[in-house]
Structures are given as structure tokens and as C-alpha cells.
């Protein structure tokens, strides 16, 4: 049973981040995703200190606020003349440092150690279950991730056209009167949400891996946005299964193995993708020369 819950958690993480990752990769904001996943730290710790529990609504709200605050700061510094990638670096390191410092200051009161933040505790998800009037409803992490996934799917499918236009031609979107900034922050808010709900089960670094690697893999396999989102989720789910299997065999961090599996799938796509792969391109070149 524990295998089932761990895999289900992994699949939900892969779905949430696969959908959002496709937009991040296409909008060249992969590193902003990285920055958000680090920046939600102080929000999580502060909410934890205030409420004393790991799964409160407060934590979600505080972490989302932190994520959006980071995006806002990054943009602010860029407008003040700091280079784009440098402003990302300044903001996320500062916020993450605050988070780590809070954890080490209140380490005794908080059941939230640095390891859990980094690699997550996906192996323990099935122990932390949600019990309503005596009925065991399954792990809390699954409910949290499920809710997040429903929100993400709803928002993206409602505004699919708008998101698509903003992704490929923001200037046209602005000219047509679509509130570009609003949708930008909506996307960033969803990224923060996905990060927070995945955080506890898989850790900060894995979230970044799941946001970027499957989406980039899908980008190498297709030219259509809808297909890319589906493939990205598919690749994420596949790497969850492969990674979990590998982790059981070699007795190592599950989260780390899942990211490694995603990395291996990416390398395969990079080499052998029929449309954009390394080998296919070389073969096409040779055919042209001959």
C-alpha cells in the first residue's frame, strides 16, 4: 500500500509541475521557476512557526505570497537596471538564506529539518494521513496535491487561449487587450502553489527538476503546445515510476532518483528524438550532403 501512495504522490507532483513547466520552458523562465522554489522557504517556515502544523492553509498562503513577492522583487530590480539573471540570483539566495536561518534558529521547536526541505520525505507520505471523524481518507499530501492539480487544470483550461498567446507573442497579446501582467502573476502564483504542495513530499530541488526537465524533454519531441503539455506530464510520470524502482533497488533517496530518471529520459530525447534529436539531425545533414 505504501508503494501505491508514494507513486500516486509522485504522479501528482509530475502532473502539476509538468503542465506549468511547459509554459516556463517556452517563456524562457526556467530559472524563475528555480528561484520561486527556493523563495517559498521563508513563507513555509514562518507559517509553520505561527501555526505549528505542516498542513495548514496558512502555509499555502504564506508560501504563495513569498513566491509572488520574489517574482515581484526580481522584476523590480530588473527595472532598476540589474541584469535579469543577476537579479534572480540576488533575490532567491536572500530569501532562501532567511528561510534556512529561521529553521536553524528555531530548530528545536520545529519539526522541519534541512534535509526534509532539500530531499523531502516522499517515503513517509503514507504515515501522515487525513482522518475525518475516524475514517482514514489517505495521505494528506495526496489530497493537497490533488487539490492543486485540479486548480491548475481548471485555470489553464479556462484561459488556455490567453496563456498560449502570451507564451508565444506577448506583444500581440498586450495589443489585443489581454492583461499580460495579470496572467503572468497568475502563472507564477500557480508555480508557487505547485512548489509548496510538492515541497513536503519531494523537497525543494526535486520540484525544480520536475518543472524543467520533463517539459524540456517534451519540447524536443513535439511542436504543438497541447501535445507538449501532455508529453511533459507523461515524461514526468514515467520518470516517477523508473526513479522509484531504481531507488528501491539501490536504497537511495527516492526524490533524487526520480530527478535522475527524468535526466536520463531527457538525454535519450536529446539524442534520439525523431524531429529534434542529435542523431536525427546528423543523419538529415548527411543525407543533404550526399
Amino acid at each position: 500500500m505504501s508503494d501505491f501512495w508514494i507513486l500516486l504522490t509522485g504522479v501528482l507532483v509530475a502532473s502539476c509541475s509538468g503542465i506549468l513547466g511547459a509554459f516556463l520552458v517556452l517563456r524562457k523562465m526556467a530559472m524563475i521557476g528555480d528561484a520561486i522554489s527556493h523563495s517559498v522557504m521563508p513563507g513555509i517556515v514562518i507559517a509553520f512557526l505561527l501555526s505549528g502544523s505542516r498542513d495548514s492553509l496558512l502555509m499555502m498562503v504564506a508560501a504563495m505570497a513569498c513566491g509572488l513577492f520574489a517574482v515581484f522583487l526580481i522584476q523590480l530590480f530588473q527595472q532598476k537596471g540589474v541584469q535579469a539573471d543577476a537579479s534572480i540570483g540576488v533575490v532567491f539566495t536572500a530569501l532562501f538564506a532567511i528561510g534556512v536561518l529561521l529553521v536553524s534558529l528555531f530548530a528545536r521547536q520545529v519539526h522541519l529539518d534541512q534535509d526534509a526541505i532539500l530531499y523531502g520525505e516522499i517515503a513517509y507520505v503514507h504515515w501522515n494521513t487525513w482522518i475525518v471523524s475516524g475514517v482514514d481518507l489517505g495521505p494528506k499530501a495526496v489530497w493537497l496535491l490533488g487539490g492543486t492539480l485540479i486548480i491548475i487544470v481548471t485555470v489553464i483550461s479556462l484561459f488556455y487561449k490567453q496563456f498560449k498567446l502570451i507564451t508565444f507573442d506577448p506583444a500581440l497579446a498586450a495589443a489585443l487587450g489581454i492583461p499580460v501582467a495579470l496572467f503572468h502573476y497568475l502563472l507564477m502564483g500557480m508555480v508557487s502553489m505547485a512548489t509548496v504542495s510538492s515541497f513536503e513530499s519531494v523537497g525543494a530541488i526535486l520540484v525544480v527538476g520536475m518543472l524543467i526537465i520533463p517539459a524540456a524533454t517534451a519540447y524536443l519531441l513535439t511542436d504543438r503546445l497541447g501535445m507538449m503539455i501532455l508529453l511533459s506530464v507523461g515524461v514526468g510520470i514515467a520518470s516517477t515510476f523508473v526513479g522509484y524502482g531504481a531507488a528501491v533497488i539501490i536504497d537511495a533517496s527516492i526524490a533524487g532518483c526520480i530527478v535522475c530518471a527524468a535526466g536520463i529520459l531527457f538525454v535519450l530525447a536529446f539524442l534520439f528524438s525523431p524531429s529534434h534529436g542529435f542523431v536525427a539531425k546528423k543523419l538529415r545533414l548527411r543525407k543533404l550532403v550526399a
Binding site: 520552458v25 527595472q79 539566495t93 536572500a94 536553524s104 518543472l211 524540456a216 542529435f278
Partner: protein, 335 residues
């Protein structure tokens, strides 16, 4: 409370802080750690300037994350926690990561930022897998390997300090002697090539120096935050000057101050990791520079703007109004 009482209390507090500081600097072990953290900050601040100007700030972050598997493999192969081996392992991993990013961006349609994200998280995932294998497996003496994640300068021993200081000094010396070349390569690679410099070589050399700076910094600041030592002092220094030489010096000083602050504060309270403190010191310097920087700080810009407005009067305001509309449209489009 009377003003005098308050003042005497703060001065007494200040005295106490001075006393602890003094005691710390008398402790020879602490003095070495202090010196090496300062040197670390200095060298990464200096290197960071060039990577900032070449718009490669986040490479530092990627290299740092990539160093983790290198460190683990070095430990698994040698079984010792010698900084020299870690430097070699992490350096090799950093070179492989740089190479990987270049390969991905050159041979596929994936953009630079996604490539960095892929390499960063892929390598870090591998590092964590290796770290857990080391922890679960029969490697004795592995305690403290995870200190590399957040940095704990206080756990350094004499030989580590010596290695780190020598490497830092080495970095600074190279930058001093190749300053002219690095300057040209950073600002105008085309011209550098035209007058016969081997631009590719200097670019690779700068990247290698960054790998070394990052790897050295990991010991004090940790894998996740070491990028801040490369990025933040350089960005802060940019607010004070328009000249590269001055910028490099200011950035080095900012880095050194951050490193020193991190080392001192973390040694006064034993449970605090050095990394976050160093980063927060650097960030505080950044905020100060952003506000009060003498060349591009917000305050000075506002003053200049007001003076212009007064001199040009009405015409300027009108122009500014149209300019701000333009700016808003551009901003929307940029999103």
C-alpha cells in the same frame, strides 16, 4: 527611559560585542577561519564581476549544484574528507556541467536558461542520490558530508584553511595579472579577437576560475547559497562606479566583508550555519548600494532627475509623461 541611560546601555552592549570579537580573534583556530572566509569572499567577489558583465551570473548557481556529485564521488573513491580531493572532484563536475550546458544549447533548440535548469537539477539529483548511498552504505567517517549543503566554516581544520587561502590568493593573483585581457573579453570580445587575443581561451579560463571560486566557496557557504557570493557583491559594486577596476575592488571588499561577518556571527552562536549569514550580509550590502550607491543608486538618480526637471521645466515633464507611457507598453510586452 532617559536618553543617557539608553546610550550607556547600548555602549555597554557594544563593548561586550567588541570583547567577544577580540576573544574570537585571539583564538588561533578562529582567526584562521576568519581569514579564510574573508579571502573566499574577496576572491569570489572579484571573479563575480567578470561573470556579471558577461551576463553569466546564474552559471555560478549551476556550477555549485553540479559540484555536489563531484564531492560525493571524490569521497566514495578516496574515503577521506580532504578538501583537496573535494576541490578536484567538484572542479571536474563543474567542467562537465559547463560542457553539458554548451552541448545542449548548441545541438538542440533548448534555450540557455532551460539548459542551466536541466543540468542544475539533474546533477543535484544525482548528488543527493550519491549522498544517500554514502549515508546508507558502509562508508565510515561520512558525518559532515552534508555540511556542504549549507556550509559550516567552523568545522574546517588547519589544512583545509591553508588550502582554501592558497587557492583564493591564487585566484586573485591571476585576475590581477590578466586584468587587461579579462576586461577586453568581458566588454568587447569582437575587438579582443581583432587584435589577436585568443578569446576562447580567456573565456574558458574565466569559466574555470569561476568553477574554482564556487568550489572553494562551498566549504563556507554551502552548495545552495554559494552563488550569492558570486552574484551579489558584483551587482552591489555596480551601483558605486562605472569603472571596471574600481568595481572589481569594491566587489572584492563587499565579498570579504560578507565572508567575515558570516564567520564571526556563526561562531558566536554555535548552531547557526555560516552560509545563510554570509548571504544575508551580502544582501544587506546590496540593499545599501541600491539605495545609496554613488553612481546608480536610487537616491542619487532621484536627485539628478529632480535637478534636470528644474532646469528643463515644463518641456521635460511632457516628455517624461510620453516616455513613461512608452515604458509601460514596453514593460507589458516584455512580460
Amino acid at each position: 527611559m532617559t536618553g543617557a541611560g539608553w546610550r550607556s546601555r547600548t555602549s555597554r552592549k557594544g563593548e561586550r560585542i567588541m570583547n567577544t570579537l577580540w576573544a574570537l580573534l585571539h583564538d588561533p583556530n578562529m582567526r584562521w577561519i576568519f581569514i579564510s572566509c574573508t579571502l573566499l569572499g574577496l576572491s569570489s567577489g572579484v571573479i563575480g564581476c567578470f561573470s556579471y558583465l558577461r551576463k553569466q551570473s546564474l552559471m555560478g548557481d549551476t556550477l555549485a549544484h553540479a559540484a555536489l556529485p563531484g564531492i560525493c564521488i571524490a569521497f566514495m573513491l578516496t574515503g577521506t574528507k580532504s578538501i583537496l580531493y573535494f576541490l578536484i572532484g567538484a572542479g571536474l563536475a563543474g567542467v562537465v556541467a559547463t560542457f553539458g550546458i554548451g552541448l545542449i544549447t548548441r545541438h538542440s533548440r533548448i534555450k540557455h536558461d532551460s539548459a542551466m535548469g536541466i543540468v542544475l537539477s539533474g546533477f543535484f539529483g544525482l548528488g543527493i542520490v550519491l549522498l544517500t548511498i554514502v549515508q546508507h552504505g558502509g562508508y565510515g567517517n561520512q558525518a559532515g558530508l552534508d555540511k556542504f549543503l549549507f556550509g559550516q566554516a567552523a568545522s574546517m581544520i588547519g589544512s583545509d584553511v591553508l588550502t582554501l587561502s592558497i587557492v583564493s590568493l591564487f585566484l586573485i593573483t591571476i585576475c590581477y595579472f590578466l586584468f587587461k585581457q579579462f576586461k577586453l573579453v568581458s566588454f568587447d570580445p569582437g575587438f579582443a579577437k581583432g587584435i589577436g587575443y585568443s578569446v576562447g581561451f580567456y573565456e574558458q579560463l574565466l569559466m574555470l576560475l569561476m568553477v574554482v571560486a564556487v568550489v572553494v566557496g562551498i566549504q563556507a557557504v554551502g552548495v545552495i547559497l554559494v552563488a550569492s557570493l558570486i552574484i551579489t557583491p558584483a551587482v552591489s559594486a555596480r551601483y558605486w562606479t562605472d569603472r571596471l577596476g574600481v568595481m572589481v575592488a569594491v566587489s572584492g571588499v563587499f565579498g570579504a566583508i560578507s565572508g567575515a561577518t558570516g564567520a564571526i556571527v556563526s561562531s558566536t552562536a554555535s548552531s547557526l550555519p555560516t552560509g545563510p549569514l554570509t548571504v544575508l550580509a551580502a544582501t544587506a550590502l546590496f540593499v545599501l548600494s541600491l539605495l545609496f550607491g554613488s553612481k546608480r543608486g536610487l537616491l542619487i538618480r532621484r536627485l539628478v532627475q529632480q535637478r534636470m526637471k528644474r532646469r528643463l521645466g515644463f518641456a521635460y515633464e511632457e516628455q517624461a509623461a510620453t516616455a513613461s507611457v512608452d515604458e509601460r507598453i514596453n514593460k507589458e510586452a516584455a512580460l
